[in-house]
Structures are given as C-alpha cells and as structure tokens.
C-alpha cells in the first residue's frame, strides 16, 4: 500500500515536470499583459495579433506546403522501403536496415551540414527545393520504421495466394499491401508532418532568405525573448501536434484491436 502511494506520487511528479512548462506557455498566451508573470485577465488579443500578421501567415503557408509535400513523398518511399525489407531478399539488405537506423539516431546537425555541403556541391540553391528534399530525407526512416513494424505482422501467404490467382506485384501492392498497411501509412504520414512542422536544426542549415518556414520564424522570434504573441503561436503549434499525435495513436491502436 505504502509502496504504491510512493510509486504513483513519483509518477505524478514526473508528469508534472513534463507538463508544467507547456501549461505555463498555454496559460500565458491568454494573459492580458505584455511583460508580467502575474495573471491580468483573459484575452484573445495575442491570437488576433497573429492572425493579422501577414508575414506569419505566409510563413505558415510555406510550412504547410513543405509539410504536406514532404510527408506524402516520404510515405511513398518509406512504405516501398518497409515492404521491400519485408518481402524481398536482396544485396545490401542489412546495409539498408542499418542506414535507416543511423538516419534516425544521428544528430540533426550532422544531416543539416551534410545536406548543405551536398547542395553546395551540386548547385541546388537554398530555398524551397533544398528544404523539401531535406524534409523528405529525414521523414523517410520514420515512415519506414512505423510501416515496417506493421508489415511484419502480415501473413506472407497472402502474397502467394494473390500471385497464384494471377496478380502481379503492382496489383498486389495496390490492392493488398496498401489497404492492409493503411493505418501504419496514415500514422507515418501524420508523424512525418509533425516532424516537418517542428524541424529547426536541419532547416536552419538548408533554408535561404527567400523561403522562410514556421519553425525558423519561431526560432528567430524566440531569440528576442519571451513574448505573449510567441506564447500564442507556440500554443497553436502545441495544439496541432497534440491533435496529430492523438490521431496517429488512435489509428494505430484501433488497428491493433482488430
């Protein structure tokens, strides 16, 4: 009994630790004061300021464009990778596994500078394309891992049955693999979208002045200090992340139950 009280109070303490700073941001985005840490009443003012800021709206549009395009491309390539790793024997299979694993754990800054060097070597100007290609690259391994963990639960005999009935690989992929993997593919897309929307470090190295995106805009705002507009912007971002994570988890969980 005593033991379980200690356990739950410790767990509660860690949860408080994780969530208090986030809660502070959210609460103060509604505070009717500019520089105070005291509560001065509720206001929507800071959100209105944001929605009238054309620069922010453009940057948001840029981020959404990159996010949608990057996660869609990454989902296609990542799914192909996961399915190939599961179904086929080929040279360098282990290497591919290893490479995807390394891409996930390697520090963002390494990918940032190596892509910067690549773009410089093959003359890709820093802007929309450099960002898009970078975002696709760091999303692929996450999609591959998410889809792979689902693909391993599939019964290999399904493929043989389909082939015996005369389906070719393209048909099998479109009619069998994709529908069965759909929850993992959707989850992979949503997680890629979050990654793309939140990435600061890699984008910092491969973006140009012509095409600014939201995380970098937030970074430059945050550098100037704590401000209520930034609180409001961060709260919106937190809300978007929360919705996406809940969606992806429920998609994955529902499917497990079936």
């Amino acid at each position: 009994m005593k033991n379980s009280i200690i356990k739950s109070s410790y767990a509660t303490l860690v949860y408080l630790l994780l969530y208090t700073p986030i809660a502070v941001i959210i609460i103060f985005s509604f505070n009717n004061a500019t520089f105070s840490s005291l509560w001065h009443g509720f206001t929507w003012h800071w959100y209105k300021v944001l929605f009238h800021d054309h620069e922010i709206l453009t940057v948001v549009l840029h981020s959404l464009t990159i996010g949608v395009l990057a996660s869609t491309t990454a989902v296609i390539i990542g799914t192909l990778a996961a399915v190939s790793l599961f179904r086929y024997q080929f040279n360098g299979k282990q290497l591919l596994h290893g490479l995807l694993f390394i891409l996930i754990i390697s520090p963002d800054i390494i990918m940032g500078i190596s892509l910067l060097i690549l773009y410089n070597a093959i003359n890709i100007p820093l802007g929309f394309w450099s960002l898009l290609l970078a975002h696709i690259t760091f999303c692929i391994p996450f999609v591959a891992v998410t889809v792979y963990s689902r693909v391993t639960t599939l019964n290999k005999h399904i493929f043989e049955a389909a082939r015996d009935l005369g389906a070719n690989d393209f048909t099998i992929f479109g009619k069998i693999v994709i529908p069965l993997l759909l929850p993992a593919i959707i989850a992979g897309w949503l997680l890629s979208f979050t990654l793309s929307l939140d990435d600061v470090i890699i984008s910092y190295f491969v973006s140009g002045p012509g095409y600014e995106i939201l995380p970098l805009k937030i970074f430059s705002m945050v550098r100037l200090g704590v401000k209520p507009e930034v609180n409001a912007l961060c709260t919106i971002m937190l809300g978007v992340t929360l919705i996406i994570v809940l969606l992806s988890q429920s998609v994955l969980l529902n499917n497990k139950k079936r």
Binding site: I22, D108, I110, T137, I140, I201, Y204, F205, I218
Partner: protein
Amino acid sequence: MLAFKRFSIGTIWTWLCVFALLPLILVILTSFLTSDINHLVKFPATFANYGQLFNDAYLRILLQSIYLAASCTLICLIIGYPFAFIIARNKSRFRPLLLLLVIIPFWTSSLIRTYAIMAILKTKGILNSALLAMGIIHHPLHILYSYTAVLIGTSYDLLPFMILPLFANIEKLDSTYIDAARDLGASKIRTFIKIIIPLTLSGIISGSILVFLPAMTMFFIPILLGGAKNLLLGNLIENQFLTANNWPMGAAISIFVTLLMCSMIFLYWKSKNKSLTE
C-alpha cells in the same frame, strides 16, 4: 514480377545514396581540405583540421560538451528509469493513457519546449515569482543564461527520449526472473543490480544514446538558455559553417561527432547480442 522489386528497391536506394551516403562522403572529403574565402574549400588535402581538434580552445568546448551531455544523460536516467519502471509495470486500464502522456512531449517541438523553460526560468518568470511569493528566496535567482539553465533545458527536452526506450525494454522484462531471484533469497538491491539492470541494459544504452548525442549538438538550447556564454559542439559546428565559413573545420568536428555516435552504436549492438546469447 521483378519489375516491382527493382522499382521499389531502386527508389529507396537511389534516394538514400544521393541524400544520405553521398553527403556523408562529401563531409568526409571536406574535412580533409583547406578552407578558402572565395570557394569555401580548396586543396591541398590535409590532416590539419583534425589536429586542430586538440587545440586548447576546441578541446575545452569538446570536454564541456561531453561533460554536459553526460550529466544530462545521468539526470534523465535517474529521473526516467524509476518512472519508466512504474508505468511499464502498471497493469491498470490507464496504462495506454500513461504511455500516451509520454509520447505527446516526445513528438512536441523541442524548440517550443525550450522556450517554455525560458519562460519558467527568466528573472521575472514563474519560478522566481513562486519562490518569492512563498518566501523561500528574497531576491530573484538568475538561472537563465547560465550553465545550469542549459543543463535543465537539455534534460527537460530529452527526458522523453530516455523514457520511451526504457519503457519498451522494461515492458518485455520477464518478472519470473525477479521472482526467482527473490525466492532464492536475493535482497531487493541485489536483485536490482544482478537481474533487473542487466536485463534492461539494452534499453538503458539506447535511451542514453538518444539523449547523449542530441545533448551535445542541439545548438539552439545554449543559444536560448545559455546566452552566448556556454558554447557547445553544436554551436561550434554551426559557427564554423554559417559564421566563420570554415567548412573543413566544421566538417572535421562533425566527423568526430559521427565517430562518437558509431562507437556508441557499436556498444549498443554488443550489449544487445550479449543479452541475447545469455
């Protein structure tokens, strides 16, 4: 039949070769070149950049980063291990919710979470107001823009990266081993050291890798929480590439970080294989 196989394997390999392997090779090449004002890099090839890593100035940043990353890993492990243990072995119907509450911060932007720490630690922030109001302190603490702030921020940011691998590992822990040890008369502490730690070692190591590496290289945390004072490896790399325009030096530091990463992965594989054979 073969067309699809060729198509999918070809696509993924082409992408990874162009955007992962080729850049890495270019970084390695760059690290052996000399910096040039007009073209960024030039010949002759040299080892000088690696030699410079052992200069006093660089060595200090290097050691400081390793020290910070190690402290941060330790803090996350000490806070995260018991926590992961509690939620992984919780059998109630709230378990999925408990896990979800860790996954949410895991996916939340670390920039925003760092900003949140900034708001808490600043001189007129929540922490000081609360402590002053409670009468614990009489003058506001100046934590922001110090080493402590960087350590707090990094640990806070990376804590979920420690908890999740530990959770996955502890979840699989077979409790019959613990019961057996206890039945054979091992004390709680002995069971923990001899049974639980070795069985969860691969979780501990993968969590530590996921905390240690970003802790050294997340350059925006020192910028936002450390002021300009607490330069770490991440800042050094960023500086060499974007301000000092000394790409070869920046590349050499990056290769050093990559080698560090590879040796840690090697350690991880060894521990994993060891726990499999035992």
